[in-house]
């Protein structure tokens, strides 16, 4: 017979179970009700375009911007006389046409648009162009990109809508650098607002379609439609939100759930599959300036030995890396020229490309016939492309010759500093440029340039050929110069080039007008949503 205590114990246990079940039931009901609660995005009548990039910007100042994904912000706020379009062609922007160039190629005259206003309502004139360029060229302003424009020795305002640039020597590529590495701002704006304003909150000081609104670090940057934009009918959004989402899978999840409209840098292994998902589109386009390379230091062992460098270059199967590691989102190349570029030289490429027998022969002639070890730095966080898998694959390929890269993971800015100072032995890197043929070659292999120490390579013949490129007028004149230059670089192999990366994006179906940019940075001024 149950005692009173047993009955109580039974009731109490029953009550305990009941409480537990009640709690669980409430929790389950709450979870079930969740979908019917208010949605987590609120979009009223405002047209909002949301895009996702993988990296935080360090600055919005166009003369100092370095992150090509985050440049979407500065390129939406600021404009320049000339822009580079999706396919890498020069197009007039604040100028009415491409410049008139003198026969000696040292004078560039631009006729400017008369219908442009800055976002704060000020009228754009040639004075603003002169001011902006002179600000960048003044060494005390420490513009990161100053050296790209330092051949300009005089800027003359001929009228409110005409400006003339006089160069110290022929130097055509500077037109290609205007989009990524500079922008036009109002005369006096730097003194009025200060550099910190341009760096963190450049509201009203550009001519572009978007006016800066706010920047929440590690979260998003918001721009709003500029009512003064000179291209009527554009932009097709009222608000642009640039979300910073470093994790690849989370960025994809945001796209799949409709939280963002366009993403950059989708993970290569998922790109083909994701393109076939309903309501998702994707495209990849080869860049002309996305270098993927092993930056060796010719001033440090073992890469002070040319045969050691050649051995490594010939031992790397670039086609295998491009296909199996990067899922065809890299175009393999053994020289610093993209296979699809008009300046590519197959002959030079063959001098450096995968060939195990040549690799063995070079190794035998080197100071390290039995193989060697070297440090290979890689970035801890992917920038443009994650090279960790490629580093491991390269280790496996080089092991056949008893060449043993020791992987060292460093934060990217630390790694870059090491390369700039020439303290590295080697670093596996992806660097982006506007796609103009000579930019990276001059920057790295030119005489006393910004990244000359990243290779330590000094060859007066190459320097002379670089100057010849600047002096040549058209492709028929340029091709043989490039062929010769690439031949020298392939023979001496100061770096081990792997290939050229693709720019790839995924976007949702309602997005219209979006095209992948061969310069990698997303272009959103003429993008809308259906």
């Amino acid at each position: 017979m149950d005692t009173k205590h047993d009955r109580h114990a039974g009731i109490d246990a029953h009550l305990g179970r009941r409480s537990f079940l009640r709690t669980a039931g409430v929790g389950a009901s709450a979870a079930a009700a969740a979908p019917f609660l208010q949605a987590w995005t609120v979009e009223g009548a405002e047209r909002v375009l949301t895009i996702a990039v993988p990296n935080n910007p360090a600055t919005f100042d166009p003369m100092n911007a370095a992150n090509h994904d985050a440049m979407v912000v500065s390129q939406t706020i600021f404009e320049n006389l000339i822009e580079v379009d999706h396919d890498g062609n020069l197009q007039p922007q604040l100028a009415v046409a491409l410049p008139k160039v003198s026969s000696d190629q040292k004078t560039y005259t631009f006729d400017l648009r008369d219908d442009v206003q800055f976002q704060d309502g000020q009228k754009f004139t040639a004075e603003d162009v002169k001011y902006s360029f002179e600000y960048v060229l003044d060494p005390k302003n420490k513009a990161f990109r100053r050296t790209l424009f330092d051949k300009i020795w005089r800027i003359t305002v001929e009228s409110p809508t005409r400006v003339r640039f006089d160069l110290s020597e022929p130097y055509g590529p500077w037109l290609y650098y205007m989009t990524k590495y500079m922008g036009i701002f109002p005369k006096g704006s730097r003194e009025k607002h200060g550099d910190q304003y341009f760096k963190a909150s450049p509201a009203g000081v550009g001519t572009g379609p978007g006016t800066f609104v706010e920047w929440r670090q590690n979260d998003y940057i918001a721009l709003k439609r500029s009512p003064n934009y000179w291209r009527k009918g554009l932009p097709q959004w009222d608000r642009l939100v640039v979300r910073v989402i470093p994790e690849d899978s989370v960025r994809v999840a945001y796209l799949m759930t409709g939280q963002v409209d366009i993403i950059s840098a989708p993970p290569p292994k998922d790109f083909v599959r994701l393109r076939s998902v309903p309501n998702v589109k994707g495209e990849s386009k080869p860049t002309m300036g996305g270098w993927f390379f092993l930056g060796t230091n010719v001033k440090k062992a073992p890469f002070d030995d040319q045969n050691a460098r050649k051995a490594v270059s010939h031992a790397i199967d670039r086609a295998m890396l491009a296909k199996n590691v990067f899922y065809d989102l890299v175009d393999p190349a053994a020289i610093p020229a993209p296979p699809r570029g008009w300046w590519f030289s197959k002959q030079a490429n063959d001098l450096n490309d995968f060939d195990l027998e040549k690799a063995k022969a070079h190794l035998a002639r080197s100071k390290y016939p039995n193989g060697f070890e070297f440090e290979m730095m890689i970035p801890s966080q992917p920038y443009l492309l994650d090279v960790k898998d490629a580093a491991v694959a390269i280790q496996a390929q080089l092991a056949k010759l008893n060449i043993r890269p020791q992987i060292r993971i460093l934060e990217q800015s630390v790694l870059l500093d090491q390369m700039r100072l020439g303290n590295h032995v080697s670093a596996l890197q992806v660097w982006m440029s506007p796609g103009e043929p000579l930019y990276m070659i001059d920057l790295i292999y030119g005489k006393d340039k910004g990244l000359s120490k990243a290779s330590g390579y000094e060859n007066p013949e190459v320097w002379r050929l670089i100057r010849d490129v600047y002096g040549a007028k058209d492709q028929p004149a340029l091709k043989p110069i490039f062929a010769k230059m690439l031949g020298i670089l392939a023979t001496e192999s100061p770096h081990i080039w792997m290939g050229f990366v693709h720019a790839s994006n995924l976007w949702r179906e309602p997005v219209k007008g979006f095209k992948v940019n061969q310069g990698l940075t997303m272009r959103v001024k003429d993008v809308g949503k259906a």
Partner: protein, 315 residues
């Protein structure tokens, strides 16, 4: 008790001062001058020295520390970020509440699930529910938080569409949306300590239920509910201490959860500052997290003292 609390608070202040000094010195020991970072690696030596003079970096370390800590304590000024140039204090004020909210939600979830689970496991020791709870606990401590977070995003956001895949929706956009954005991160953050605390509750309660005074209480005919209530009072003492400490630890784990769920909280600011070598920001955020940890430790000690009659009244 008041004297005890005062002593503990004083001791915590001493710990914080010592910790702040260690944080400051360690940051300064990192190779490379902050002035060089600001100017870039190609800056000339005179430029670096000039900026160091202007930033006070050429002063003795003790003087730099005194200036920094006095700015922090007296003006709440942690300096400016190297990267953005923005005041660090405003960044902390913006991001700290987000992390605090996630940690508190995770903590509440933890207690709401772990303590009842532990109690039921103890009451039905070696029964089915005890075994299930044990498996859940093992899974909770074994599964990496970042993996769990990603799986929750795939299932809960991408496939089911019940929750956003990440991000923080402020309260101004609606309570429902706000809570929805916090459910998955709080769950991912809290699951580990849910496992720990449930097992701790269980083992502590089992031990107490075996005590002589509990047997006496049963013999006296007290109801099971009352017995369990008496036992819980004693059993939960160590659990409360561990739970209070877990708040501090969750602040550390939040760095992974905020990265996975793309939440712009304080811990993610720390990660971003580390990657960009924003030393002043690292210094400030580590100090804030240290304050939270010391505070949680202090709360645990005070609670333990308040709840445990055996130490109450002793020095």
């Amino acid at each position: 008790m008041v004297r005890f609390v005062a002593r503990r608070v004083l001791f915590s202040v001493v710990v914080l001062v010592a910790a702040s000094a260690v944080i400051f010195v360690l940051t300064r020991l990192v190779p490379g001058s902050p002035a060089l970072i600001l100017l870039g690696p190609e800056a000339k030596a005179e430029q670096v020295q000039d900026l160091e003079r202007r930033l006070g970096l050429d002063r003795p370390l003790a003087v730099q520390y005194a200036r920094w800590i006095s700015d922090v304590v007296l003006h709440g000024d942690f300096g400016r970020s190297y990267i953005s140039g923005l005041p660090i204090t405003s960044e902390i004020l913006r991001t700290l509440p987000i992390t605090v909210e996630i940690v508190l939600l995770a903590f509440v979830f933890c207690l709401v699930v772990a303590v009842p689970l532990g109690i039921v496991s103890a009451l039905y020791e070696d029964g089915l529910i005890d075994h299930v709870a044990r498996i859940v606990a093992i899974a909770g401590v074994s599964v990496p938080g970042f993996w769990l977070g990603l799986m929750l995003i795939v299932c809960g956001a991408v496939h089911l569409g019940w929750f956003p895949p990440g991000g923080y929706t402020p309260l101004s956009m609606g309570l429902g949306a706000h809570l929805q954005s916090l459910v998955l991160p709080a769950f991912s953050l809290g699951i580990y300590y849910t496992a720990i605390i449930s097992r701790m509750t269980r083992s502590s309660l089992v031990e107490v239920l075996r005590q002589d005074y509990i047997r006496t209480a049963r013999a006296l005919g007290l109801s099971r509910t009352r017995i369990v209530a008496y036992a819980l009072k004693n059993a939960l003492i160590p659990v409360v201490s561990v739970a209070a400490m877990s708040v501090g630890y969750m602040f550390g784990w939040a760095i992974i959860i905020e990265q996975v769920f793309n939440i712009a909280g304080l811990s993610r600011s720390l990660l971003s500052a580390l990657f960009q070598r924003d030393y002043y920001m690292v210094q400030a955020v580590v100090l804030v997290i240290t304050i939270v940890f010391v505070g949680a430790n202090l709360a645990a000690e005070i609670l333990y003292r308040a709840l445990n009659p055996r130490v109450r009244g002793t020095a």
